[in-house]
Symmetry: C2
Subunit: 113 residues, 2 copies
Amino acid sequence: MSAVARTPEPPYWAVIFTSRRDERPGDGYGETAEHLLQLAAAQPGFLGVEEARDDLGITVSYWADEASIAAWKAEADHRAAQRAGRDHWYESFGVRIARVERAYRFDRTEGPQ
Amino acid sequence: MSAVARTPEPPYWAVIFTSRRDERPGDGYGETAEHLLQLAAAQPGFLGVEEARDDLGITVSYWADEASIAAWKAEADHRAAQRAGRDHWYESFGVRIARVERAYRFDRTEGPQ
């Protein structure tokens, strides 16, 4: 999870989820986040995910097409988490659905790709 | 910087920059990153930025159009930083240019937007 995702050649899709947490001990967030990540990775069309959190949390998941994103949005456990997110986990969040048009990657040990 | 960016209605563009740092004391990274963020915010077409870093760093900047992104990529100080990034700041990074097609935002105090 803590690596730059290896995604195929564009075009593909990105879901940029940015959030500020309303942290409360025992609110179940960590367990659910972990479960959802594993669930997302098993969905058709899933290409990869990147995550970082300090004051702000950013999760970018990559998908083959819009249909895969729609199916993931409608997945039952994910819908329950969306409700919990609005009800108590997040102070604020933004979701952006974007079509990746160009991409490049650099790896010190491999040189430019 | 640590807030969910308030961007206009789509379409607009996102540059998703994901990196793993090769951290060395006194390598000038922090100062340059701060300078570049201020410089980016002053560019034509800049709409906002979101950043988070733990093991992975993710910076998503938002732009009005592709021309603004091209101009920012070519800006002199930014080009120097791109070289330093390849030469010593980053172990690996990925850059993805994406067109934001849909977006929504939630704020506890405001309700869904």
